[in-house]
Amino acid sequence: MKREGQVRIPSGCAISAVISREGRRMTGEKIVESMIPMHDRSNGLGGGFAAYGIYPEYRDYYAFHIFFDSRDTRKTCEALLKEGFEIVKAEHIPIRQIPEITDVPLIWRYFLAPMQSVLNRLQLDAEEYVARIVTKINAELRGAYVFSSGKNMGTFKAVGYPEDVGRFYRLEEYGAYCWTAHGRYPTNTPGWWGGAHPFSLLEWSVVHNGEISSYDANRRCVEMFGYQCTLQTDTEVMAYIADYLLRRQGLTLEETASVMAAPFWSTIEHMEPQEAERLTYLRKVFPSLLLTGPFSIILGFSGGLMALNDRLKLRSMVVGEKDDRVFISSEEAAIRVMEPDAENIWAPMGGEPVIVRLKEGTY
């Protein structure tokens, strides 16, 4: 066996995304291909994709994607779901048999409508109820992991290289107006199915290249608000931070970016008074949701995405455009795979969010 120092592993995770501002649906082929030139950034211990707009015929229902380790776990989980939801449809997620992907769990998809009587009794809105059920299953039901729970969107992930994971899930058969992708090189945490990216809750999904050194502070903070970090990976907390700030606190995406990648006090000091006041307010109200350490992330949501780098920009990110499409990747080569003639290639600054929204009424 080769020892540390005798082998070089030139890895560092890869992220990629494409979105059509016009809401045109694209198959998964290109986003999967975009991961190929970045193959060496991953090590085969995780790959995944998020796709938005893929379930138009079930757009009013929460689409749960769940891993089960056994049939019994599935039965238990379905019994729990039936207490609060009408199960509109339950099915296996279609997969392809390929040698690169092994140890496959049971992978199921449910389209769910929360029962109004249950919501009335609990005095909760549907989204809060769904968030709580997802947290409950992931924390309490051993061997079951809800890895996707939004409407008209879904995440697909596995242990493997991303291009293999894309073939495994037959992503060429889906049509999405927005795709995000991740190739994983796990650093401090295990490479397992639940730990692959994207991490997702409700409509939010996060793919991440980097490592959050503030993880435990962030985790303790969101746990005060009912979230539970159960997936053994730092990135999970970002999905919950997004849900907390955007859905529950009602912050804008720009404000959320200013909380997660807040500028240094020394930088704020030299800003225009109004901007300095805004940033000071956000830093003081949400100090524990500042993410330190290197990251480049793409946050997907219904109708758009946001890309963001840590304030020191310790990970790479490139943006390009062509017609109504916007591309974001760790490397320009990945963008060129999706669109050889991409224009306006640029690299956002650390902490500068890139927000792309679909035209009103196109999704």
């Binding site: 060496d40 030299h270 920009k313 320009e332 080569a333 690299a347 600054m349």
Partner: protein, 239 residues
């Protein structure tokens, strides 16, 4: 000799470059890393997008990219030339200790981080547009020149340029009033000696990419150097 890079991984591509002899042209390049790494005495022209660490540990020779390059161009290079007819990503010239990097467009974050020099090993980076934050961070030697052409109205460098600089020089052309420098460095107009040093760099940039060197030499230029030869001498211990 032409090398079609499509379908070749970085190892196979570098082997093809070695086999090609003194000069070659790579077409269809798409993300292959380490092109020309550790090589000397070759001319390589690249069409497409080379991957990270282009010309890492380059010993000599001439690499040209007809387009953008990604991160870590010329990582720890010792000699030779890298010319990019586009922009470069982050950490161009990381720990560079000899040779030259000429960039037509912009540079990302941390260009020239930890650049160093020793006797006749005097590395040079010339950036036509602007640079991202942390330009010349921990610079110990060599010269970084930012010409500030086509900056889209933005400052020629982002936040925290020259942080921890303790040798060498960063030279800016144009207005630097919007750039904040740390306390331990001194921005000043070029001395005669410094003007003599930057003139050939401007001329070479113009020879490579076009432009009027005489007009560019009108400046104004600002040279940033550390306050003393050893600004951190007493930072941790008084000895």
């Amino acid at each position: 000799m032409d090398i079609q890079a499509k379908g070749l991984d970085y190892r196979a591509l570098n082997e093809a470059i070695r086999a090609a002899g003194p000069s070659c042209r790579i077409t269809g390049c798409l993300g292959q890393r380490f092109i020309g790494a550790g090589m000397s005495g070759r001319r390589v022209e690249i069409d497409g997008i080379p991957g990270n660490a282009l010309g890492a540990y380059l010993g000599g020779g001439f690499l040209t990219v007809n387009g953008n390059a990604q991160d870590a161009v010329g990582d720890t290079m010792n000699g030779g030339s890298i010319v990019v007819r586009g922009s470069v990503g982050d950490t161009a010239g990381y720990a560079m200790r000899g040779g030259e990097i000429y960039v037509q467009g912009n540079a990302g974050y941390r260009a020239g981080i930890h650049m160093k020099a020793y006797q006749d090993q005097q590395p040079v980076i010339v950036i036509g547009g602007r640079a991202g934050s942390f330009l010349g961070e921990y610079q110990a030697g060599g010269t970084i020149l930012v010409l500030g052409l086509h900056t889209d109205g933005k400052p020629a460098a982002g936040y925290f340029p020259c942080t921890g600089q303790h040798g060498g020089r960063v030279i800016f052309r144009g207005d630097v009033s919007a750039i904040r420098f740390p306390d331990q460095v001194t921005p000043h107009p070029p001395t005669e000696e410094e003007t003599a040093l930057l003139r050939p760099l401007v001329e070479r940039w113009c020879a490579l990419f076009g432009g009027d060197a005489e007009a560019l030499m009108d400046g104004p230029f600002t040279v940033v150097t550390p306050d003393s030869k050893n600004p951190y001498r007493q930072m941790y211990a008084a000895n």
